[in-house]
């Protein structure tokens, strides 16, 4: 294991946390800003970005190459993050598919998009299929080698440890079984549903996490669980079929210096918002023995905060002393114009930034979005997001769109070669 990225992260963690508590040892870089934003008040609101297909599009890379080869994948992502001056980014692959593909689930590949599970052909179409399922060899099957190589390359390029991603067992069960089939399992054959979830948790996810952290060191481990969300799943379903397995995986994989949690859940608009927020906290809080490293953040998605109001989720985050992370509605970035994007960012900052423990997430910049729109996000954050944020003053501030260098020109001069 390469110790340098781990030591770098520890140093940045220390500086960021101290800054957030008022002890300011120099200017913050993007990663330190994120840490300071998670634990308190940084210099300004941090922006996390998932480069993903936007990086692929900027470099005109074929989908299969981008999502299968570590060099173009990591270099394109790094180029995009540097070009846009993003505070923090991670190598984001199609993290719902990796374990499933290693198990034998067919994927559909399309140009201009990430691969997707072929939901017309679920791997476990019947209970009998489950008996034929073999656990993948962690790190060898499917595109697992690509993931491990990408983490190594990310550490080489950035000098930092990446966040490690896994597919959470509930969502994996939905994808491998088909949503309707799994609903029927939970209702009519819960013993089988539990058997499947136990297999996916202990035979697939736990060994895969162990393999990944062998490469990255004691990283933050994120399990993504979009299907464990109301209204697709009821809170009772999540309580019986999701949370116990999340906790089981956490117990099997965490350590005093590693935090493991489940996220990606949405649905405050479809149920009692506080009950959904409580559920999200339950997916994070047990993730570490070292209290200072947990919980990491509370992520609320645009469709939900627009429905229930940002003040509700801000108050909840304050009450639980957790960082509130709001994503930026992807179609707004694609549609533009920059001034409208800046108004959106201003609103999110006005209503969400508070006195810290806050961040913005560009989880998806749709492929083909004009680069001016993407630059407008970070420009608006820099102009409106400096702490202390005064909501009243924000209203009188006009947005100034900076000059934007075309990506191709920047790439020829500065970019990592692909």
């Amino acid at each position: 294991m390469n110790l340098k990225p781990m030591l770098n992260v520890m140093k940045k963690l220390q500086k960021g946390v101290l800054y957030s508590k008022g002890l300011r040892l120099g200017r913050l870089d993007g990663y330190e800003r994120l840490i300071a934003g998670i634990y308190g008040q940084p210099d300004r609101v941090p922006l996390i970005c998932q480069p993903y297909t936007y990086a692929m599009g900027l470099h005109s890379l074929p989908s299969r190459k981008f999502f299968s080869e570590s060099l173009p994948f990591v270099h394109a992502s790094a180029n995009m993050a540097r070009y846009l001056d993003i505070d923090s980014w991670n190598p984001i692959f199609d993290f719902y598919n990796i374990e499933l593909e290693a198990l034998g689930q067919p994927l559909i590949w399309r140009e201009g998009s990430e691969p997707d599970v072929d939901s017309q052909h679920p791997l476990i179409a019947s209970e009998a299929d489950f008996g034929r399922l073999k656990p993948p060899a962690p790190g060898r099957d499917g595109r697992m080698p690509f993931v491990l190589e990408s983490y190594k390359r990310y550490m080489d390029v950035t000098g930092l440890q990446p966040m490690v991603y896994a597919c959470a067992p509930f969502t994996m069960a939905v994808l491998i079984r088909g949503y309707v089939n799994f609903l029927r399992d939970m209702r009519r054959n819960p013993a089988f549903a539990h058997k499947l979830l136990d297999f996916l948790s202990m035979e697939v996810v736990v060994p895969w996490i162990a393999k990944m952290v062998q490469v990255t060191g004691p990283s933050i481990v994120v399990m993504s669980d979009a299907w464990a969300s109301p209204p697709n799943a009821t809170l009772e379903m999540v309580a019986e079929f999701c949370i116990p397995y999340v906790h089981k995986i956490i117990k099997a994989t965490n350590s005093p210096i590693r935090t493991v949690f489940d996220t990606g859940v949405w649905g405050e608009r479809a149920a009692d918002p506080r009950a959904v927020l409580d559920m999200k906290m339950d997916m994070m809080v047990p993730g570490n023995d070292f209290k200072a490293l947990r919980p990491f953040f509370l992520l609320v998605w645009s469709e939900d905060y627009d429905a229930v109001g940002i003040p509700l989720v801000r108050d909840y985050a304050d009450e639980k002393k957790v960082c509130l992370l709001l994503n930026i509605y992807p179609p707004a970035l694609e549609e533009g114009p920059p001034e409208k994007i800046a108004e959106l960012i201003k609103r999110l900052i006005r209503e969400g930034a508070g006195r810290g423990r806050f961040g913005l997430l560009a989880n998806l910049i749709p492929i083909g979005t004009p680069v001016e729109h993407a630059h407008a996000v970070i420009a608006a954050i820099k102009q409106f997001g400096s702490y202390p944020v005064d909501p009243e003053k924000l209203d009188g501030m006009a947005f100034r769109m900076p000059a934007v260098e075309p990506f191709d020109d920047w790439y020829r001069r500065e970019g990592l070669r692909i």
Partner: protein
């Protein structure tokens, strides 16, 4: 209980196995296929009512819709002539790149159970295929579904393709799916937006002036 009551209850409970069995027995007993569909429809309409008053959750509605679909698949081919579908015609599909069908299937079930004739193009439908089918079938409504932020951007392509083919003013376009909003639907020039399947039915009824 009679098959009529049993069938509605089986659909309501999302029990597709009993639904198929009861529909088969009813057919053997020479029941009118139209009556069978009507009894099944009562189950899904009741599921919608329970959902709207908060007694049913979305998974309950999905399983009811799937059970009703099983009845439709077996019984609809036996209908003579147009059979069901007197209220109007709908062409529907998930846009290119989107393999999700659950939401669309609920809409299809709700519309069919409410008397619409629905042609379901399935998932991952290219803009050119939507246009070709609109040209061929001349539906009153075209329904576009997208269930991911990455695929909803295909909707404007369909709108443009309809415009280019000179069909835009010949069909009302409805859009729906988890990441969509009414504002987005308006911004791409759609005629209607359904926040959920029952809302989609209400909007289509309104667009076509159907009570």
């Amino acid at each position: 209980m009679s098959w009529e009551e049993d069938l509605g209850r089986a659909v309501l409970e999302g029990d597709e196995i009993s639904t198929v069995r009861i529909a088969g027995e009813a057919l053997e007993a020479k029941a009118n296929p139209q009556d069978i569909l009507q009894r099944g429809a009562e189950g899904i309409i009741e599921a919608g009512r329970l959902w709207q008053q908060g007694d049913y959750f979305l998974p309950d509605v999905i399983l009811a819709a799937e059970a009703y679909r099983e009845v439709m698949d077996r019984v609809a081919p036996l209908l003579e002539g147009d059979g069901a579908g007197g209220k109007g015609s709908v062409l529907i599909g998930s846009v290119e790149g989107d393999a999700h069908e659950i939401g669309k299937n609920i809409v299809v079930a709700i519309l069919r159970s409410s008397g619409y004739r629905v042609v379901d193009l399935g998932v991952d439908v290219r803009a050119a295929d939507f246009v070709e089918k609109v040209q061929e079938l001349r539906p009153q409504i075209l329904g576009l579904g997208a269930y991911m932020t990455t695929t909803m951007r295909r909707m404007p392509e369909v709108m443009d393709a309809l415009q280019t083919a000179g069909l835009r003013d010949k069909v009302k376009v409805m859009v729906g799916g988890a990441p969509l909003t009414a504002e987005y639907a308006e911004s791409i020039g759609a005629d209607g937006y359904g926040a959920d399947a029952y809302d989609a039915l209400a909007v289509i009824n309104r667009l076509l002036g159907v009570a």
